[in-house]
């Protein structure tokens, strides 16, 4: 579902509800106010008629009023509401007059005065206040009032449809106003949303026009804050993507070239074996072929390990890891090698807090460091492993009594495929790159220095202790 139709749908629903509620409240208000107004008028008329009649001195006053009413043809007894009074005859009248009536009764129950359209029976049996009655299928609203001396009762009445007419009129006007207003409102909403979303569409077509290998940044001079935010985020993604791709490309290219040397060696020794003049020469060359294949296999395995150490993938799989357990397990796995060289491996196992990390990659890190230490340390040497805590960091130290790494080489050994000169061990130059990558994924630090004894390499790794 598009954002546009979503916004439009919500706005339309909300405005229909709001406009409807406003109309309803307005209608209710008009109805209530109209009733109040008409009721007030009804009461005031009753009071006015009663006080006028009383002012005319009792019965004689009433008869004069009746006379006046009769003279003016207003005492017609019919209550015929469909028949409109002639406007010509009644220049000062109003069509609503036929819907108004009144009666004055005395305390003996005699009808003293009445309007022409009032019946001879009491309009209401109620002594005072408002009441609703039905006369000839019409709803009437009545008001009864007793004179101050309790002698007369005045009843004023009004057909309810008079007020309903007014209410209907007002609400009709409101309704027509909304009928025009709502579509106009929708049109304005639609146009505003359409215009508002245009930059987004432009961005989409800008991106759509790109070819797959174009990782150039998107020009960002947009004045719209929202679009600028999206573009910034996209640009950051593009940048990361480009870095990742460049890294992948470099690894692939480096790896391919690095494989050429062992392949050249394998090929050469195979040729030598084929053309050997003696059995001895042939065996010697074939042994070298096997060595070359083993070395190439190791190189390929290390490359795969490096490729699998994708920061995003590994970081997704972080759990609580007890480094001490891993050290014990990995050292146990490598102990046959160490025993073969009569190495003294010690691990100072002081209990420390577990860290948050990726277990598989931390195992790879330990395996590489321990393998390095074991292969570079001469027979009878020692390897010291220790774990400690410092400033919210877990510090792993692996120290060996091998030849160590000269200061100038320490930087370069982290580079892929860099191997130390005159090495005696079959390394492929990726081990420390792998270790470095794992440390980076865990946002830690890796340091190479001289062993405390002055002879050998000391690897110090600091991993941040993350709280759970």
């Amino acid at each position: 579902m598009s954002i546009r139709s979503q916004i439009l749908k919500r706005l339309i629903t909300a405005s229909i509800i709001l406009v409807g509620a406003t109309a309803w409240l307005g209608y209710e208000d008009v109805r209530r106010e109209t009733r109040e107004l008409f009721d007030a008028q009804l009461a005031r008329s009753a009071r006015l008629i009663l006080s006028l009649a009383q002012a005319q001195n009792g019965d004689s006053g009433f008869s004069r009023i009746q006379e006046y009413l009769d003279e003016n043809g207003l005492s017609v007894m019919y209550i015929d509401f469909e028949e409109q009074p002639d406007e010509q005859q009644e220049p000062h009248g109003h069509i609503y007059e036929t819907k108004l009536a009144f009666q004055i009764w005395d305390d003996e129950g005699n009808l003293v005065v009445k309007s022409y359209n009032a019946p001879l029976e009491p309009l209401t049996s109620q002594d005072s206040g408002f009441n609703n009655i039905i006369i000839d299928d019409y709803d009437w609203r009545t008001f009864s009032l007793l004179s101050s001396n309790q002698q007369y009762r005045c009843i004023t009445a009004e057909r309810i449809d008079v007020r309903n007419d007014l209410i209907r009129q007002v609400s009709n006007d409101l309704f027509y106003m909304f009928i025009i207003l709502i579509p106009a409102l929708f049109l304005i909403m639609y146009i505003s949303i359409h215009q508002g979303l245009k930059p987004l569409q432009q961005l989409a077509s800008q991106i759509n026009r790109r070819s797959g290998d174009n990782l150039d940044l998107i020009a960002n001079q947009d004045e719209h804050e929202e679009i600028a935010t999206i573009k910034n985020a996209l640009n950051q993604l593009l940048q990361r993507l480009e870095e990742t791709l460049a890294r992948e490309k470099r690894i692939t290219s480096d790896a391919a070239h690095e494989l050429r040397t062992p392949l050249a060696a394998i090929r050469l020794h195979t040729e030598l074996a084929k053309n050997a003049k003696t059995r001895e020469q042939q065996n010697e060359s074939l042994n070298q072929v096997i060595l070359g294949v083993d070395r190439t296999t190791h190189l390929v395995e290390q490359l795969l390990t490096l490729a699998r150490l994708e920061p995003e993938l590994v970081a997704r799989d972080f759990t609580q890891v007890d480094l001490a357990d891993l050290i014990i397990e990995e050292s146990a796995l490598l102990s046959p090698l160490a025993i073969g060289k009569n190495l003294d491996i010690s691990f100072d196992n002081t209990p420390i807090k577990p860290i948050k990390g990726n277990e598989a990659s931390l195992r790879i890190l330990l395996r590489n460091l321990l393998t390095n230490a074991i292969s570079y340390t001469p027979t009878g040497g020692r390897i010291i492993i220790s774990l400690s805590e410092k400033d919210e960091h877990t510090v792993l130290v692996i120290e060996d009594s091998g030849p160590g790494i000269s200061e100038e080489d320490r930087e370069r050994v982290m580079e892929r495929f860099y191997r130390l000169e005159n090495y005696q061990t079959p390394g492929c130059g990726i081990g420390l790159s792998i270790v470095d990558r794992v440390v980076q994924i865990h946002q830690g630090s890796l340091q190479l220095c001289q062993a405390d004894s002055g002879q050998g390499l000391k690897v110090v790794i600091q991993l941040k202790q993350q709280h759970f």
């Binding site: 003049k277 060359s285 191997r419 000169e421």
Partner: protein, 219 residues
């Protein structure tokens, strides 16, 4: 031929060494650029096989160093890089030829022979001096259509003298061409081999210049 191999990879270096030695060459193998440069100042090599990807001092650095100090020994570079630009850079730096890893050993040998032949101004694989015909590929020698059996060192000595005909070669020079490092050299070996050559061909082939060395007269 006396060849200097500069290769840091143990397995490949071992293979090239073994192979070239089987082809009757004297090979010295060093694993870094600095040692290569100092070896060249001490020994006269017929050619150098130089790996580009060396630790610290790269093969190209070695090459530039050599050429800037007027060392014009033929150099064949071994490279793992197959981009044209890498080869061009190598050749521009003064290499005479290049080979991309992995390579066929016979091709390496052929290129080395071609390099030394060019350096000696020869035009073919066979070398003729009077009625002596030397096949540098098969390592066989004929004298007046009769095959002559020579040992590895006798062959190298004959080759060296004939390619330098008309020039007096010192005993030291000949020793350098015949032996690689670590070979035991007895004090009178060159005299012994000269004696063998005179016996297998004819006595006048090599003339002794007393106190200086040996010479094969210009044809």
């Amino acid at each position: 031929m006396r060849i200097l191999l500069v290769e840091d990879d143990a397995l490949l270096g071992d293979g090239v060494c073994a192979g070239l030695r089987r082809e009757d060459n004297s090979v010295d193998w060093v694993k870094n650029g600095e040692t290569a440069l100092s070896a060249m100042t001490e020994t006269l090599y017929d050619c150098v096989i130089l790996d580009i990807g060396l630790p610290k001092m790269s093969g190209l650095d070695v090459l530039q160093h050599m050429r800037s100090s007027d060392n014009d020994i033929p150099v064949l570079i071994l490279t793992a890089q197959d981009d044209i630009s890498d080869r061009v850079r190598g050749l521009d730096a003064g290499a005479d030829d290049y080979l991309v890893k992995p390579f066929e050993f016979s091709e390496l040998c052929a290129r080395l022979r071609a390099l030394t032949r060019r350096a000696r101004g020869m035009s073919s694989e066979t070398l003729q001096y009077k009625d002596i015909i030397i096949d540098t590929v098969a390592h066989t020698v004929k004298c007046g259509n009769q095959p002559v059996l020579l040992s590895r060192r006798e062959f190298s000595l004959l080759f060296e003298l004939i390619t330098n005909q008309g020039r007096v070669l010192s005993r030291h020079h000949l020793e350098q061409k015949l032996y690689s490092w670590g070979d035991e050299i007895e004090s009178n070996t060159i005299e012994v081999y000269i004696h063998h050559l005179r016996k297998k061909f004819y006595p006048e082939l090599v003339t002794t210049v007393r106190g200086i060395g040996y010479i094969v007269a210009k044809e």
